[in-house]
Symmetry: C2
Subunit: 293 residues, 2 copies
Amino acid sequence: MNQINRLAIVGGSHGNELIGVYLVKKFQKYPNLIKRQSFETVSLLGNPQAIAAGRRYIDKDLNRCFTEHNLPDAETPSYEELRAKEIQQILQLQNHEFVNVIIDLHTSTANMGLCIILGNMHPILLRLAAHLRAINPLVKVYIHQQPKNSGFLRSVSELGFAIEVGAVAQGILNAELFQQTEQLVYAVLDYFEECNRGKLSLTNNNLTLYQSLGTVDYPRNEDGEIQAMIHPQLQFRDYEPLHPGEPIFLTFKGKEILYEGESTVYPIFINEAAYYEKGIAMYLSQKEVIDID
Amino acid sequence: MNQINRLAIVGGSHGNELIGVYLVKKFQKYPNLIKRQSFETVSLLGNPQAIAAGRRYIDKDLNRCFTEHNLPDAETPSYEELRAKEIQQILQLQNHEFVNVIIDLHTSTANMGLCIILGNMHPILLRLAAHLRAINPLVKVYIHQQPKNSGFLRSVSELGFAIEVGAVAQGILNAELFQQTEQLVYAVLDYFEECNRGKLSLTNNNLTLYQSLGTVDYPRNEDGEIQAMIHPQLQFRDYEPLHPGEPIFLTFKGKEILYEGESTVYPIFINEAAYYEKGIAMYLSQKEVIDID
Protein backbone atom coordinates (compact mmCIF):
# COMPACT_ATOMS: atom_id res chain seq x y z
CA MET A 1 0.00 0.00 0.00
CA ASN A 2 1.74 3.16 -1.16
CA GLN A 3 -1.08 5.63 -1.12
CA ILE A 4 -3.91 6.41 1.29
CA ASN A 5 -7.00 7.39 -0.66
CA ARG A 6 -9.80 7.34 1.90
CA LEU A 7 -9.82 7.77 5.63
CA ALA A 8 -12.77 7.44 8.01
CA ILE A 9 -13.21 9.05 11.43
CA VAL A 10 -15.87 7.36 13.52
CA GLY A 11 -17.18 8.76 16.82
CA GLY A 12 -19.93 7.43 19.05
CA SER A 13 -19.54 3.74 18.27
CA HIS A 14 -20.43 3.75 21.94
CA GLY A 15 -23.27 6.18 22.50
CA ASN A 16 -22.16 7.40 25.93
CA GLU A 17 -18.59 8.26 24.95
CA LEU A 18 -19.27 11.88 24.18
CA ILE A 19 -15.89 13.21 23.09
CA GLY A 20 -16.03 11.19 19.85
CA VAL A 21 -19.68 12.10 19.32
CA TYR A 22 -19.11 15.86 19.59
CA LEU A 23 -15.83 15.77 17.67
CA VAL A 24 -17.55 14.10 14.71
CA LYS A 25 -20.42 16.62 14.94
CA LYS A 26 -17.81 19.40 14.82
CA PHE A 27 -16.07 17.82 11.82
CA GLN A 28 -19.39 17.47 10.02
CA LYS A 29 -20.18 21.13 10.68
CA TYR A 30 -16.70 22.34 9.66
CA PRO A 31 -15.49 19.76 7.12
CA ASN A 32 -12.46 21.84 6.19
CA LEU A 33 -10.93 20.89 9.53
CA ILE A 34 -10.43 17.31 8.34
CA LYS A 35 -9.96 17.94 4.64
CA ARG A 36 -6.53 17.07 3.25
CA GLN A 37 -5.51 17.39 -0.38
CA SER A 38 -4.20 13.91 -1.08
CA PHE A 39 -7.06 11.79 0.30
CA GLU A 40 -10.77 11.87 1.07
CA THR A 41 -11.91 12.03 4.71
CA VAL A 42 -15.26 10.59 5.77
CA SER A 43 -16.67 11.21 9.25
CA LEU A 44 -19.60 9.42 10.78
CA LEU A 45 -21.42 8.69 14.01
CA GLY A 46 -21.18 5.01 14.82
CA ASN A 47 -24.30 4.28 16.82
CA PRO A 48 -26.96 7.01 16.41
CA GLN A 49 -29.68 5.22 18.43
CA ALA A 50 -27.32 4.61 21.36
CA ILE A 51 -26.16 8.25 21.18
CA ALA A 52 -29.79 9.39 21.36
CA ALA A 53 -30.41 7.05 24.32
CA GLY A 54 -27.20 8.08 26.09
CA ARG A 55 -26.13 4.46 26.37
CA ARG A 56 -23.16 2.40 25.20
CA TYR A 57 -25.44 0.33 22.94
CA ILE A 58 -29.07 -0.63 22.39
CA ASP A 59 -28.93 -4.45 21.98
CA LYS A 60 -25.26 -5.35 22.00
CA ASP A 61 -21.84 -3.76 21.80
CA LEU A 62 -21.45 -2.40 18.24
CA ASN A 63 -17.69 -2.56 18.57
CA ARG A 64 -17.87 -6.36 18.81
CA CYS A 65 -20.16 -6.76 15.76
CA PHE A 66 -17.61 -6.38 12.97
CA THR A 67 -17.04 -10.10 12.53
CA GLU A 68 -17.01 -12.12 9.34
CA HIS A 69 -19.87 -14.13 10.78
CA ASN A 70 -22.05 -11.15 11.62
CA LEU A 71 -21.30 -9.08 8.62
CA PRO A 72 -22.74 -11.13 5.77
CA ASP A 73 -25.98 -12.06 7.50
CA ALA A 74 -27.53 -12.99 10.83
CA GLU A 75 -30.82 -14.75 11.39
CA THR A 76 -32.16 -12.38 14.01
CA PRO A 77 -29.98 -9.34 13.69
CA SER A 78 -29.77 -6.87 16.54
CA TYR A 79 -29.80 -3.15 15.91
CA GLU A 80 -26.03 -3.09 16.22
CA GLU A 81 -25.50 -6.01 13.81
CA LEU A 82 -27.57 -4.16 11.21
CA ARG A 83 -25.70 -0.96 11.93
CA ALA A 84 -22.35 -2.74 11.56
CA LYS A 85 -23.42 -3.79 8.06
CA GLU A 86 -24.51 -0.23 7.23
CA ILE A 87 -21.17 1.12 8.38
CA GLN A 88 -19.36 -1.41 6.21
CA GLN A 89 -21.38 -0.12 3.26
CA ILE A 90 -20.57 3.49 4.07
CA LEU A 91 -16.89 2.62 4.33
CA GLN A 92 -17.02 0.90 0.95
CA LEU A 93 -19.23 2.92 -1.37
CA GLN A 94 -20.09 1.28 -4.66
CA ASN A 95 -17.35 1.80 -7.24
CA HIS A 96 -15.11 3.20 -4.53
CA GLU A 97 -12.25 1.34 -3.04
CA PHE A 98 -12.58 0.39 0.60
CA VAL A 99 -11.53 3.01 3.10
CA ASN A 100 -7.82 2.64 3.87
CA VAL A 101 -7.62 4.11 7.34
CA ILE A 102 -10.15 4.03 10.18
CA ILE A 103 -9.80 6.21 13.27
CA ASP A 104 -12.29 5.01 15.87
CA LEU A 105 -12.74 7.51 18.73
CA HIS A 106 -13.35 6.19 22.23
CA THR A 107 -13.20 7.27 25.85
CA SER A 108 -12.64 5.21 28.98
CA THR A 109 -13.31 5.58 32.69
CA ALA A 110 -9.80 4.15 33.11
CA ASN A 111 -6.87 6.54 33.17
CA MET A 112 -5.87 5.77 29.58
CA GLY A 113 -4.46 9.24 28.96
CA LEU A 114 -4.08 9.75 25.20
CA CYS A 115 -3.77 6.24 23.83
CA ILE A 116 -3.77 4.75 20.37
CA ILE A 117 -4.78 1.11 20.19
CA LEU A 118 -3.39 -0.92 17.32
CA GLY A 119 -4.83 -4.28 16.31
CA ASN A 120 -1.76 -5.27 14.31
CA MET A 121 1.90 -4.33 13.87
CA HIS A 122 1.66 -2.95 10.33
CA PRO A 123 4.81 -0.87 9.67
CA ILE A 124 2.70 2.15 8.66
CA LEU A 125 0.82 2.04 11.98
CA LEU A 126 4.06 1.66 13.96
CA ARG A 127 5.60 4.61 12.13
CA LEU A 128 2.42 6.62 12.77
CA ALA A 129 2.65 5.75 16.46
CA ALA A 130 6.30 6.81 16.65
CA HIS A 131 5.43 10.02 14.83
CA LEU A 132 2.59 10.85 17.23
CA ARG A 133 4.84 10.18 20.22
CA ALA A 134 7.50 12.46 18.75
CA ILE A 135 4.92 15.26 18.57
CA ASN A 136 3.44 14.52 21.99
CA PRO A 137 5.40 12.22 24.33
CA LEU A 138 2.26 11.73 26.44
CA VAL A 139 0.76 9.56 23.69
CA LYS A 140 0.70 5.89 24.72
CA VAL A 141 0.65 2.97 22.29
CA TYR A 142 -1.20 -0.22 23.15
CA ILE A 143 -1.07 -3.30 20.93
CA HIS A 144 -3.97 -5.72 21.17
CA GLN A 145 -3.34 -8.07 18.26
CA GLN A 146 -6.46 -9.31 16.55
CA PRO A 147 -7.20 -10.96 13.23
CA LYS A 148 -9.13 -9.14 10.54
CA ASN A 149 -12.90 -8.89 11.22
CA SER A 150 -12.45 -9.85 14.85
CA GLY A 151 -15.46 -7.80 15.89
CA PHE A 152 -13.83 -4.41 16.48
CA LEU A 153 -14.54 -1.68 13.94
CA ARG A 154 -10.81 -1.02 13.63
CA SER A 155 -10.28 -4.65 12.58
CA VAL A 156 -12.11 -4.26 9.26
CA SER A 157 -9.21 -2.27 7.83
CA GLU A 158 -5.52 -3.15 7.99
CA LEU A 159 -4.82 0.44 8.95
CA GLY A 160 -7.64 0.75 11.45
CA PHE A 161 -6.93 1.87 14.99
CA ALA A 162 -8.67 3.38 17.99
CA ILE A 163 -7.94 6.51 19.93
CA GLU A 164 -8.84 5.82 23.57
CA VAL A 165 -8.74 8.72 26.02
CA GLY A 166 -9.46 8.94 29.73
CA ALA A 167 -10.17 9.00 32.53
CA VAL A 168 -13.56 10.43 31.69
CA ALA A 169 -16.94 9.28 32.96
CA GLN A 170 -19.51 7.96 30.54
CA GLY A 171 -22.03 10.57 29.48
CA ILE A 172 -19.88 13.64 29.99
CA LEU A 173 -17.52 15.85 28.02
CA ASN A 174 -14.10 16.75 29.31
CA ALA A 175 -12.87 19.87 27.52
CA GLU A 176 -9.17 19.19 28.00
CA LEU A 177 -9.41 15.64 26.63
CA PHE A 178 -11.71 16.87 23.84
CA GLN A 179 -9.06 19.31 22.66
CA GLN A 180 -6.20 16.82 23.04
CA THR A 181 -8.13 14.20 21.05
CA GLU A 182 -8.89 16.77 18.37
CA GLN A 183 -5.20 17.68 18.03
CA LEU A 184 -4.29 14.00 17.85
CA VAL A 185 -6.77 13.48 14.99
CA TYR A 186 -5.25 16.41 13.08
CA ALA A 187 -1.76 14.99 13.66
CA VAL A 188 -2.92 11.66 12.18
CA LEU A 189 -4.41 13.40 9.13
CA ASP A 190 -1.24 15.43 8.63
CA TYR A 191 0.85 12.28 8.94
CA PHE A 192 -0.99 10.53 6.11
CA GLU A 193 -0.91 13.70 4.03
CA GLU A 194 2.87 13.83 4.40
CA CYS A 195 3.13 10.09 3.73
CA ASN A 196 1.20 10.45 0.49
CA ARG A 197 3.52 13.25 -0.59
CA GLY A 198 6.59 11.20 0.28
CA LYS A 199 7.73 13.97 2.59
CA LEU A 200 7.79 12.18 5.89
CA SER A 201 11.08 11.36 7.53
CA LEU A 202 11.14 9.08 10.54
CA THR A 203 11.57 11.17 13.67
CA ASN A 204 11.86 8.31 16.13
CA ASN A 205 13.46 4.99 15.31
CA ASN A 206 12.28 3.22 18.36
CA LEU A 207 8.86 2.94 19.89
CA THR A 208 7.75 2.24 23.46
CA LEU A 209 4.56 0.22 23.48
CA TYR A 210 2.36 -1.89 25.73
CA GLN A 211 1.57 -5.33 24.35
CA SER A 212 -1.57 -7.04 25.65
CA LEU A 213 -1.08 -10.18 27.74
CA GLY A 214 -4.76 -10.78 28.52
CA THR A 215 -7.39 -9.84 31.05
CA VAL A 216 -8.04 -10.19 34.78
CA ASP A 217 -11.61 -10.44 36.06
CA TYR A 218 -12.97 -9.27 39.40
CA PRO A 219 -13.26 -11.90 42.12
CA ARG A 220 -16.86 -13.12 41.88
CA ASN A 221 -19.16 -15.43 43.82
CA GLU A 222 -20.99 -18.43 42.35
CA ASP A 223 -23.76 -16.11 41.08
CA GLY A 224 -21.24 -14.00 39.17
CA GLU A 225 -21.51 -11.06 41.55
CA ILE A 226 -18.29 -9.16 42.09
CA GLN A 227 -16.78 -9.51 45.56
CA ALA A 228 -14.05 -6.90 45.41
CA MET A 229 -13.11 -3.51 43.97
CA ILE A 230 -9.97 -2.22 42.27
CA HIS A 231 -7.51 -1.54 45.09
CA PRO A 232 -7.02 2.19 45.80
CA GLN A 233 -3.28 1.76 45.18
CA LEU A 234 -4.02 0.56 41.64
CA GLN A 235 -6.86 2.93 40.72
CA PHE A 236 -5.84 5.38 37.94
CA ARG A 237 -2.33 3.77 37.76
CA ASP A 238 -2.67 2.59 34.18
CA TYR A 239 0.69 1.98 32.41
CA GLU A 240 2.55 1.83 35.73
CA PRO A 241 4.47 -1.31 36.74
CA LEU A 242 2.64 -3.84 38.92
CA HIS A 243 4.99 -6.14 40.77
CA PRO A 244 4.21 -9.61 42.14
CA GLY A 245 2.81 -9.32 45.65
CA GLU A 246 1.32 -5.84 45.19
CA PRO A 247 -2.41 -5.35 45.91
CA ILE A 248 -4.84 -5.31 43.02
CA PHE A 249 -8.26 -5.75 44.67
CA LEU A 250 -9.93 -4.84 47.96
CA THR A 251 -12.91 -6.94 49.04
CA PHE A 252 -16.04 -5.25 50.36
CA LYS A 253 -14.96 -6.47 53.80
CA GLY A 254 -11.63 -4.69 53.41
CA LYS A 255 -9.32 -7.63 52.64
CA GLU A 256 -6.50 -7.02 50.15
CA ILE A 257 -6.02 -9.37 47.23
CA LEU A 258 -2.49 -9.41 45.83
CA TYR A 259 -1.19 -9.86 42.31
CA GLU A 260 0.16 -13.38 42.17
CA GLY A 261 1.86 -13.33 38.78
CA GLU A 262 5.55 -14.12 38.52
CA SER A 263 6.75 -11.06 36.66
CA THR A 264 6.14 -7.33 36.53
CA VAL A 265 3.27 -6.30 34.26
CA TYR A 266 1.65 -3.02 33.22
CA PRO A 267 -2.13 -2.92 33.83
CA ILE A 268 -4.30 -0.77 31.59
CA PHE A 269 -8.05 -0.27 31.24
CA ILE A 270 -8.19 -0.42 35.05
CA ASN A 271 -11.81 -0.08 36.23
CA GLU A 272 -13.42 0.58 32.85
CA ALA A 273 -17.19 0.83 33.47
CA ALA A 274 -18.19 -1.01 30.31
CA TYR A 275 -15.99 -4.00 31.13
CA TYR A 276 -17.75 -5.04 34.35
CA GLU A 277 -20.29 -6.98 32.28
CA LYS A 278 -17.52 -8.39 30.07
CA GLY A 279 -15.70 -9.91 33.04
CA ILE A 280 -12.70 -7.61 32.75
CA ALA A 281 -11.30 -5.66 35.70
CA MET A 282 -8.17 -4.69 33.76
CA TYR A 283 -5.88 -5.76 30.95
CA LEU A 284 -2.33 -6.75 31.74
CA SER A 285 0.37 -5.78 29.30
CA GLN A 286 4.12 -5.95 28.91
CA LYS A 287 6.11 -2.85 28.14
CA GLU A 288 8.46 -3.12 25.18
CA VAL A 289 10.73 -0.89 23.18
CA ILE A 290 10.94 -1.94 19.55
CA ASP A 291 13.03 -0.71 16.63
CA ILE A 292 11.15 0.57 13.65
CA ASP A 293 12.36 1.62 10.26
CA MET B 1 -39.44 14.51 67.68
CA ASN B 2 -37.44 13.26 70.61
CA GLN B 3 -36.71 9.72 69.58
CA ILE B 4 -35.63 8.04 66.35
CA ASN B 5 -37.30 4.66 66.06
CA ARG B 6 -36.71 3.62 62.45
CA LEU B 7 -34.01 4.56 59.99
CA ALA B 8 -33.74 3.53 56.34
CA ILE B 9 -30.60 3.29 54.21
CA VAL B 10 -31.36 3.27 50.49
CA GLY B 11 -28.74 2.52 47.80
CA GLY B 12 -29.19 2.25 44.07
CA SER B 13 -32.08 4.67 43.66
CA HIS B 14 -30.03 5.25 40.53
CA GLY B 15 -29.00 1.91 39.11
CA ASN B 16 -25.58 2.97 37.84
CA GLU B 17 -24.37 4.52 41.10
CA LEU B 18 -22.62 1.44 42.37
CA ILE B 19 -21.23 2.54 45.72
CA GLY B 20 -24.72 2.70 47.24
CA VAL B 21 -25.72 -0.56 45.56
CA TYR B 22 -22.79 -2.53 46.95
CA LEU B 23 -22.94 -0.87 50.36
CA VAL B 24 -26.57 -1.92 50.76
CA LYS B 25 -25.69 -5.44 49.59
CA LYS B 26 -22.96 -5.51 52.23
CA PHE B 27 -25.36 -4.27 54.93
CA GLN B 28 -27.92 -6.89 53.93
CA LYS B 29 -25.28 -9.62 54.16
CA TYR B 30 -23.87 -8.36 57.49
CA PRO B 31 -26.84 -6.66 59.19
CA ASN B 32 -24.95 -6.28 62.45
CA LEU B 33 -22.92 -3.53 60.82
CA ILE B 34 -25.95 -1.23 60.78
CA LYS B 35 -27.74 -2.52 63.88
CA ARG B 36 -27.99 -0.07 66.75
CA GLN B 37 -29.74 -0.74 70.04
CA SER B 38 -32.10 2.19 70.23
CA PHE B 39 -33.67 2.07 66.76
CA GLU B 40 -34.45 -0.28 63.89
CA THR B 41 -32.41 0.04 60.68
CA VAL B 42 -33.89 -0.97 57.32
CA SER B 43 -31.71 -1.21 54.20
CA LEU B 44 -33.02 -1.53 50.68
CA LEU B 45 -32.08 -1.25 47.03
CA GLY B 46 -33.99 1.61 45.43
CA ASN B 47 -34.29 0.60 41.79
CA PRO B 48 -33.63 -3.13 41.27
CA GLN B 49 -34.50 -3.16 37.54
CA ALA B 50 -32.22 -0.21 36.81
CA ILE B 51 -29.44 -1.84 38.85
CA ALA B 52 -29.81 -5.02 36.78
CA ALA B 53 -29.73 -2.96 33.57
CA GLY B 54 -26.76 -0.86 34.73
CA ARG B 55 -28.68 2.33 34.06
CA ARG B 56 -29.82 5.31 36.09
CA TYR B 57 -33.46 4.39 35.52
CA ILE B 58 -35.75 2.37 33.28
CA ASP B 59 -38.57 4.81 32.42
CA LYS B 60 -37.89 7.93 34.47
CA ASP B 61 -35.73 9.16 37.31
CA LEU B 62 -36.96 7.38 40.48
CA ASN B 63 -35.53 10.17 42.60
CA ARG B 64 -38.06 12.59 41.10
CA CYS B 65 -41.08 10.30 41.61
CA PHE B 66 -41.71 10.87 45.30
CA THR B 67 -44.33 13.55 44.78
CA GLU B 68 -47.74 13.86 46.35
CA HIS B 69 -49.20 13.68 42.87
CA ASN B 70 -47.39 10.50 41.86
CA LEU B 71 -47.64 8.72 45.12
CA PRO B 72 -51.37 8.13 45.52
CA ASP B 73 -52.04 7.09 41.94
CA ALA B 74 -51.07 7.72 38.33
CA GLU B 75 -53.04 6.79 35.25
CA THR B 76 -50.24 5.16 33.30
CA PRO B 77 -47.60 4.58 35.92
CA SER B 78 -44.02 4.06 34.87
CA TYR B 79 -41.87 1.40 36.51
CA GLU B 80 -40.32 4.04 38.73
CA GLU B 81 -43.68 5.52 39.79
CA LEU B 82 -44.80 2.07 40.88
CA ARG B 83 -41.49 1.48 42.61
CA ALA B 84 -41.79 4.81 44.44
CA LYS B 85 -45.11 3.62 45.86
CA GLU B 86 -43.59 0.29 46.88
CA ILE B 87 -40.76 2.06 48.66
CA GLN B 88 -43.26 4.23 50.51
CA GLN B 89 -44.96 1.06 51.71
CA ILE B 90 -41.67 -0.49 52.83
CA LEU B 91 -40.83 2.67 54.73
CA GLN B 92 -44.22 2.59 56.40
CA LEU B 93 -45.05 -0.99 57.29
CA GLN B 94 -48.58 -1.57 58.49
CA ASN B 95 -48.92 -0.87 62.19
CA HIS B 96 -45.45 0.65 62.21
CA GLU B 97 -44.79 4.31 62.36
CA PHE B 98 -43.22 5.86 59.29
CA VAL B 99 -39.47 5.68 59.09
CA ASN B 100 -37.94 8.70 60.85
CA VAL B 101 -34.64 9.02 59.02
CA ILE B 102 -33.76 8.26 55.40
CA ILE B 103 -30.16 8.08 54.19
CA ASP B 104 -30.20 8.02 50.39
CA LEU B 105 -26.81 7.00 48.93
CA HIS B 106 -25.68 8.59 45.68
CA THR B 107 -22.57 9.16 43.60
CA SER B 108 -21.77 11.90 41.11
CA THR B 109 -19.38 12.41 38.22
CA ALA B 110 -18.86 15.88 39.72
CA ASN B 111 -16.17 16.34 42.31
CA MET B 112 -18.64 16.35 45.22
CA GLY B 113 -16.16 14.83 47.66
CA LEU B 114 -18.09 13.55 50.69
CA CYS B 115 -21.27 15.62 50.70
CA ILE B 116 -24.50 15.47 52.63
CA ILE B 117 -27.46 17.11 50.93
CA LEU B 118 -30.20 18.44 53.16
CA GLY B 119 -33.64 19.33 51.87
CA ASN B 120 -34.51 21.43 54.89
CA MET B 121 -32.89 23.15 57.85
CA HIS B 122 -34.31 20.94 60.60
CA PRO B 123 -32.19 21.52 63.75
CA ILE B 124 -31.51 17.78 64.09
CA LEU B 125 -30.13 17.65 60.55
CA LEU B 126 -27.98 20.75 61.10
CA ARG B 127 -26.60 19.27 64.31
CA LEU B 128 -25.93 16.00 62.49
CA ALA B 129 -24.07 17.92 59.77
CA ALA B 130 -21.97 19.77 62.34
CA HIS B 131 -21.23 16.49 64.09
CA LEU B 132 -20.11 14.80 60.85
CA ARG B 133 -17.88 17.74 59.99
CA ALA B 134 -16.34 17.59 63.47
CA ILE B 135 -15.43 13.94 62.84
CA ASN B 136 -14.26 14.53 59.27
CA PRO B 137 -13.65 18.14 58.15
CA LEU B 138 -13.73 16.98 54.52
CA VAL B 139 -17.50 16.49 54.78
CA LYS B 140 -19.38 19.17 52.84
CA VAL B 141 -22.94 20.28 53.55
CA TYR B 142 -25.23 21.37 50.74
CA ILE B 143 -28.70 22.75 51.36
CA HIS B 144 -31.22 22.43 48.56
CA GLN B 145 -34.47 23.45 50.22
CA GLN B 146 -37.51 21.58 49.01
CA PRO B 147 -41.00 21.08 50.31
CA LYS B 148 -42.17 17.70 51.54
CA ASN B 149 -42.88 15.19 48.73
CA SER B 150 -41.08 17.31 46.17
CA GLY B 151 -40.04 14.24 44.19
CA PHE B 152 -36.81 13.34 45.93
CA LEU B 153 -36.80 10.24 48.11
CA ARG B 154 -35.23 12.24 50.92
CA SER B 155 -38.20 14.65 50.84
CA VAL B 156 -40.71 12.06 52.11
CA SER B 157 -39.26 12.28 55.61
CA GLU B 158 -38.47 15.40 57.58
CA LEU B 159 -35.13 13.85 58.51
CA GLY B 160 -34.30 12.52 55.07
CA PHE B 161 -31.03 13.44 53.40
CA ALA B 162 -28.69 12.24 50.69
CA ILE B 163 -25.03 11.33 50.84
CA GLU B 164 -23.50 12.34 47.51
CA VAL B 165 -19.91 11.30 46.81
CA GLY B 166 -17.62 11.85 43.84
CA ALA B 167 -16.05 12.26 41.46
CA VAL B 168 -16.81 8.73 40.32
CA ALA B 169 -17.95 7.59 36.90
CA GLN B 170 -21.33 5.93 36.52
CA GLY B 171 -21.09 2.15 36.49
CA ILE B 172 -17.91 1.77 38.51
CA LEU B 173 -16.84 1.30 42.09
CA ASN B 174 -14.19 3.46 43.68
CA ALA B 175 -12.77 1.68 46.72
CA GLU B 176 -11.64 4.80 48.55
CA LEU B 177 -15.02 6.52 48.20
CA PHE B 178 -16.78 3.25 49.07
CA GLN B 179 -14.93 3.06 52.38
CA GLN B 180 -15.40 6.77 53.12
CA THR B 181 -19.14 6.51 52.43
CA GLU B 182 -19.36 3.44 54.64
CA GLN B 183 -17.66 5.26 57.53
CA LEU B 184 -19.98 8.23 57.04
CA VAL B 185 -23.04 5.95 57.29
CA TYR B 186 -21.73 4.45 60.54
CA ALA B 187 -21.11 7.95 61.89
CA VAL B 188 -24.73 8.85 61.13
CA LEU B 189 -26.02 5.71 62.85
CA ASP B 190 -23.83 6.37 65.88
CA TYR B 191 -25.07 9.96 65.98
CA PHE B 192 -28.72 8.93 66.22
CA GLU B 193 -27.85 6.24 68.75
CA GLU B 194 -26.18 8.85 70.94
CA CYS B 195 -29.08 11.26 70.37
CA ASN B 196 -31.58 8.65 71.50
CA ARG B 197 -29.55 8.05 74.64
CA GLY B 198 -29.31 11.77 75.28
CA LYS B 199 -25.54 11.50 75.36
CA LEU B 200 -24.60 13.77 72.52
CA SER B 201 -22.97 17.08 73.22
CA LEU B 202 -22.59 19.57 70.42
CA THR B 203 -19.00 19.57 69.19
CA ASN B 204 -19.31 22.43 66.74
CA ASN B 205 -21.56 25.41 67.29
CA ASN B 206 -21.21 26.77 63.83
CA LEU B 207 -21.61 25.12 60.47
CA THR B 208 -20.21 25.97 57.05
CA LEU B 209 -22.69 25.12 54.34
CA TYR B 210 -23.47 25.75 50.69
CA GLN B 211 -26.97 27.00 50.02
CA SER B 212 -28.41 26.40 46.55
CA LEU B 213 -29.05 29.47 44.40
CA GLY B 214 -30.23 27.62 41.29
CA THR B 215 -28.90 26.01 38.15
CA VAL B 216 -26.98 27.01 35.04
CA ASP B 217 -27.59 25.16 31.76
CA TYR B 218 -25.12 24.53 28.95
CA PRO B 219 -25.28 26.94 26.03
CA ARG B 220 -27.54 25.20 23.49
CA ASN B 221 -28.65 25.77 19.90
CA GLU B 222 -32.28 26.00 18.81
CA ASP B 223 -32.48 22.18 18.65
CA GLY B 224 -31.40 21.91 22.26
CA GLU B 225 -27.96 20.56 21.40
CA ILE B 226 -25.19 21.69 23.70
CA GLN B 227 -22.67 24.06 22.14
CA ALA B 228 -20.03 24.18 24.83
CA MET B 229 -18.31 22.14 27.54
CA ILE B 230 -17.44 22.90 31.14
CA HIS B 231 -14.29 25.04 30.99
CA PRO B 232 -11.11 23.16 32.01
CA GLN B 233 -10.49 25.78 34.71
CA LEU B 234 -13.85 24.94 36.30
CA GLN B 235 -13.80 21.14 35.89
CA PHE B 236 -13.55 19.35 39.29
CA ARG B 237 -13.54 22.72 41.13
CA ASP B 238 -16.77 22.11 43.03
CA TYR B 239 -17.12 24.23 46.22
CA GLU B 240 -14.45 26.68 45.05
CA PRO B 241 -15.29 30.37 44.54
CA LEU B 242 -16.24 31.48 41.03
CA HIS B 243 -15.81 35.21 40.51
CA PRO B 244 -17.57 37.38 37.92
CA GLY B 245 -15.62 37.35 34.65
CA GLU B 246 -14.06 33.92 35.17
CA PRO B 247 -14.55 31.29 32.44
CA ILE B 248 -17.24 28.65 32.91
CA PHE B 249 -17.69 27.14 29.43
CA LEU B 250 -15.55 26.48 26.38
CA THR B 251 -17.33 26.16 23.04
CA PHE B 252 -16.42 23.34 20.66
CA LYS B 253 -14.67 25.98 18.56
CA GLY B 254 -12.54 26.96 21.54
CA LYS B 255 -14.21 30.21 22.61
CA GLU B 256 -14.41 30.94 26.33
CA ILE B 257 -17.73 31.87 27.92
CA LEU B 258 -17.43 33.87 31.13
CA TYR B 259 -19.51 33.90 34.27
CA GLU B 260 -21.55 37.08 34.10
CA GLY B 261 -23.07 37.12 37.57
CA GLU B 262 -22.50 40.07 39.86
CA SER B 263 -21.19 38.27 42.90
CA THR B 264 -18.94 35.39 43.82
CA VAL B 265 -20.69 32.02 43.90
CA TYR B 266 -19.69 28.42 44.63
CA PRO B 267 -20.56 25.99 41.83
CA ILE B 268 -21.28 22.37 42.70
CA PHE B 269 -22.47 19.36 40.70
CA ILE B 270 -20.19 20.60 37.92
CA ASN B 271 -20.47 18.28 34.88
CA GLU B 272 -22.76 15.65 36.41
CA ALA B 273 -23.49 13.13 33.65
CA ALA B 274 -27.13 12.61 34.61
CA TYR B 275 -27.87 16.33 34.47
CA TYR B 276 -27.13 16.87 30.77
CA GLU B 277 -30.67 15.73 29.96
CA LYS B 278 -32.09 17.83 32.80
CA GLY B 279 -30.58 21.04 31.41
CA ILE B 280 -28.15 21.49 34.28
CA ALA B 281 -24.44 22.12 33.76
CA MET B 282 -23.91 22.99 37.42
CA TYR B 283 -25.65 24.33 40.51
CA LEU B 284 -24.58 27.66 41.92
CA SER B 285 -24.55 28.09 45.66
CA GLN B 286 -23.59 30.62 48.28
CA LYS B 287 -21.25 29.71 51.08
CA GLU B 288 -22.51 30.52 54.57
CA VAL B 289 -21.47 29.97 58.14
CA ILE B 290 -24.44 29.62 60.46
CA ASP B 291 -24.73 29.30 64.22
CA ILE B 292 -26.45 26.21 65.52
CA ASP B 293 -27.46 25.22 68.97
